[in-house]
């Protein structure tokens, strides 16, 4: 059979471009599919009439779209779905294998990400309840109503949600899922090595009964990505600190950059530190250490050396395994240059006095290593003398964390903005300070992995508040 080809989807309609890219196995270079590329002009053309797609979604109630989302979750997880325009179908296992081969994620992690996405779809009602703080969803259908005895009216801020997706973690797709139930078409520029997840999700939604016109899938170049960001009334941004900095004060954009998530251990609990090593290690290394909610710093009142040593002893020996090994914990790098960059950045940071790669003695071979033609980064735990050290607050696409000793009274002054903070403490005063801190997006009190998220509490931005605004209303 011919090679699968993923067309662009222009308001749901497949479009085969003359310009195609190849998506390859990150180890062997084997071409797994071709993907149609479209230019910025096509995006502008389609976006100028995107209101029609929104009208198609408005024909459904939120309630109906929640049911469609749940069905889409089931199909995404279990069904054989359309895969491109050459007559191919894709089973969940094929999806797992293909994604693993291009992104470097081992099967076990792909499946975990898949389950996470499906969960978001199954729990859409809970998600929306959390985002809207219990708003009666018929108010979105009608445009106005009453909540807690007050008249309320909401209007959409945009006709489409733009997404320039990264390739590093399929679960980030769960961020846009509520947009469909909130009647907002999506314009997705997929990551170069990861077109699979958004494409499969779109097919699942369509098979579940969502209008195809609500989905734009536009593999495009830099100019096209810019057009997605500029022309959609609202867009999500994924990128490094520099990319995110350009957009962070603009209400049109919701930024998802590095998380700089952290684990803090207060003075009251520090003597029990050996009990928390498993939770901390999981926070650092689960999902291959690729998420913004992975901990990248462990901040402790004392025993920094011992804690770093214990984490290194646990994580240091982790080596790459074949992608279908259920015990695989590391992700390969589809972009080898990224691995090289990370490795040299860590090496250069370590030259600055005051930091030590504690994992070095537990690691088999070098940090950057190869298995079966794939390139991997083995875990790195760096003990830093203080938060002034370059390596103390760094985040990389691999299991990496610093361990820094800071007196509890100075922790909040030093940690900087943190997407997730797990604070292991029972100290009421410290908890109060944490609750007051504007630096923390999601706060876990007690030994909870930073990787745990709640469907009914958004941890980074609120999609409902992003896509809808409240207005005051009165009727004569």
């Amino acid at each position: 059979m011919s090679l699968p080809h993923l067309p662009a989807l222009r308001k749901g309609k497949p479009y085969e471009s003359l310009d195609k890219t190849e998506v390859k196995d990150h180890r062997t270079g084997e071409i797994l599919a071709t993907v149609s590329q479209v230019g910025a002009g096509i995006l502008r053309k389609d976006l100028s009439r995107i209101g029609e797609a929104r009208d198609d979604l408005r024909k459904f109630t939120v309630e109906q779209l929640i049911a469609i989302s749940a069905k889409a979750g089931d199909l995404f997880l279990n069904a054989e779905l359309t895969f491109g325009d050459q007559g191919h179908l894709q089973t969940p296992q094929q999806y797992t294998e293909t994604l693993s081969r291009t992104s470097g994620l081992p099967h076990v992690m792909v499946k975990r990400n898949m389950a996470k996405i499906a969960d978001a779809l199954f729990n859409m009602r809970t998600v929306l309840n959390g985002l809207t703080r219990g708003l009666d969803m018929s108010i979105i259908d009608i445009g106005y109503g009453e909540q807690a005895g007050c008249p309320v009216s909401y209007y959409p801020t945009t006709n489409a949600l733009g997404l320039v997706m990264p390739s590093n973690s399929p679960a980030v797709n769960s961020l846009w899922l509520p947009a469909i139930a909130l009647k907002t078409p999506v314009i997705i520029k997929p990551g170069r090595e990861e077109p699979w997840t958004p494409y499969r999700l779109i097919q699942a939604f369509i098979a579940a009964g969502a209008p195809a016109s609500a989905f734009g899938f536009y593999p495009t170049d830099h100019e096209g990505s810019g057009e997605v960001m500029k022309t959609c009334g609202r867009a999500l941004i994924f990128g490094d600190a520099n990319t995110v900095a350009q957009y962070k004060d603009n209400p049109k954009f919701e930024c998802h950059g590095p998380g700089f998530s952290k684990v803090l251990i207060g003075e009251d609990e520090i003597e029990r530190w050996p009990e928390f090593i498993d939770v901390i290690a999981g926070s650092i290394a689960d999902n291959g250490g690729r998420s913004c909610i992975n901990a990248s710093a462990v901040v402790v009142a004392k025993y920094g050396r011992e804690i770093a040593e214990a984490l290194a002893k646990k994580l240091g020996p982790i080596t790459p395994l074949p992608s279908d090994d259920p015990n695989a914990k590391l992700s390969g790098f589809a972009n080898v240059k990224m691995a090289e960059f990370i490795d040299s950045a860590i090496e250069s940071g370590l030259k600055e006095p005051g930091a030590e790669d504690v994992t070095a003695k537990y690691r088999q071979g070098s940090r950057k290593t190869e298995l079966g033609g794939g390139v991997y980064m083995q875990p790195t735990i760096v003990r830093c003398d203080s938060f002034k050290h370059t390596m103390s607050n760094r985040e990389y696409l691999c299991p990496y964390a610093s361990v820094v000793e800071v007196p509890q009274s100075e922790m909040l002054e030093q940690i900087g903005p943190s997407l997730v903070v797990t604070a292991i403490t029972k100290d009421k005063k410290f908890i109060d300070q944490l609750l007051e801190s504007p630096l923390i997006e999601r706060l876990n009190i007690g030994p909870i992995s930073t990787m745990k998220i709640s469907w009914n509490q958004p941890h980074e931005g609120n999609m409902f508040e992003f896509l809808y605004k409240r207005r005051s209303i009165d009727f004569a």
């Binding site: 003359l18 310009d19 230019g39 002009g41 096509i42 053309k45 100028s48």
Partner: protein, 349 residues
């Protein structure tokens, strides 16, 4: 006489002209005194390889008078400059060449798309470029007049080099806005513009409804998918599209009408015998590359007004086989030389 014989005859005539003291220009006569007498050794187009590559500095550094053929002495000339160059531009002098090129091109466009007597609009680089007079001449030859909206490609190039993308976009909008005003207030049926400006204009006006029936386009790279977008979505398959490849130094290479087999890959054919395009191996420029292979574009211009052998363009292209009505090689999918390796600033021109 076949086209090869015609070309060789033309070449010999031009060589005789430029290297004879009674008719030739100071530059080539001096060159001959230091090198060889081409009248004795250049007999066929193959022999042109005996010339070194024409150096673009000669057109920047020397005064225009060195290029005046003795036979044209005393006749005022036009000075034309190359497109988006910054710094001292290359200059070519001329008298009638542009009229010859564009009168010939007029025969290649249909009356259906460019009705005789119907007004034209040129939205593109005017200023010191040959194109401005050439388009007006083309319109005039067809019994038409032409409106002009200027675009300064040098300014755009500076903006893009300085990463002032917002200003570049504003400038493009400014240009397209002016064209939209003309189209809303005047009856125009033919349009010359660049692909990017055409796209920008289509976002402001319904081009077909405004009366345009034919678009003559040139300027930047037009890869197949982009051509398809222009044909299908900007011109909606109902406006004639005439992509061309040209510049001040060559004149105008017209394209053959697209067929389904072309898959929107445009092939251009030089206005032989006045100009010859060759796609050469950039590492060994004597060698012409195989058909359907990428190489650097080499231009030889041969008119009585101007002789320029073996000028290496800053473009690369695919070499294509002859195709009716042309009996010589074509160049396809022209793009800036090294486009695959480097980011080239092209701007809107």
């Amino acid at each position: 006489m076949n086209s090869q014989e015609q070309l060789d005859n033309h070449l010999r005539e031009i060589i005789q002209w430029h290297f004879s003291p009674e008719t030739g220009c100071p530059f080539w006569l001096e060159w001959m005194s230091k090198n060889f007498d081409p009248r004795k050794v250049i007999k066929t187009i193959e022999d042109v390889k005996k010339f070194p590559h024409f150096e673009d500095e000669w057109l920047r550094d020397l005064q225009p008078e060195v290029w005046i053929p003795a036979a044209y002495k005393g006749r005022p000339f036009n000075i034309f400059e190359t497109g988006g160059t910054t710094g001292m531009p290359k200059q070519r002098i001329g008298w009638e060449d542009y009229k010859t090129d564009y009168s010939e091109f007029s025969e290649k466009i249909s009356d259906e798309h460019f009705p005789r007597g119907g007004a034209w609009l040129m939205m593109g680089p005017t200023g010191p470029r040959r194109l401005r007079l050439a388009i007006e001449h083309l319109a005039n030859v067809r019994g038409s007049s032409c409106y002009f909206i200027d675009l300064d490609p040098r300014f755009v190039k500076k903006l893009i080099t300085n990463k002032q993308f917002d200003v570049a976009k504003q400038y493009m909008e400014h240009v397209a806005d002016q064209a939209a005003i003309i189209l809303k207030n005047r009856k125009v049926s033919g349009l010359f513009t660049t692909p990017k400006l055409l796209e920008a204009l289509s976002e402001k006006v319904d081009i077909y409804a405004s009366g345009i029936r034919g678009v003559f386009c040139g300027g930047t790279t037009m890869l197949p998918q982009y051509v398809r977008f222009i044909v299908e979505e900007v011109l909606e398959n109902r406006i004639g599209f005439y992509p061309t490849y040209g510049n001040t130094l060559m004149g105008l290479a017209a394209s053959v009408p697209l067929t389904p087999e072309d898959k929107y890959s445009i092939t251009y054919y030089a206005p032989q015998p006045r100009a010859v395009l060759r796609v050469v191996n950039p590492e060994k420029t004597e060698d012409t590359v195989e058909y359907d292979t990428w190489g650097r574009v080499e231009l030889t211009t041969m008119t009585k007004e101007f002789f320029m052998p073996r000028f290496l363009e800053r473009d690369e292209a695919l070499r294509r086989k002859p195709r009716a009505p042309y009996t010589w090689d074509g160049v396809a999918e022209v793009r800036p030389f090294g486009a695959m390796e480097n980011k080239i600033v092209e701007g809107v021109y």
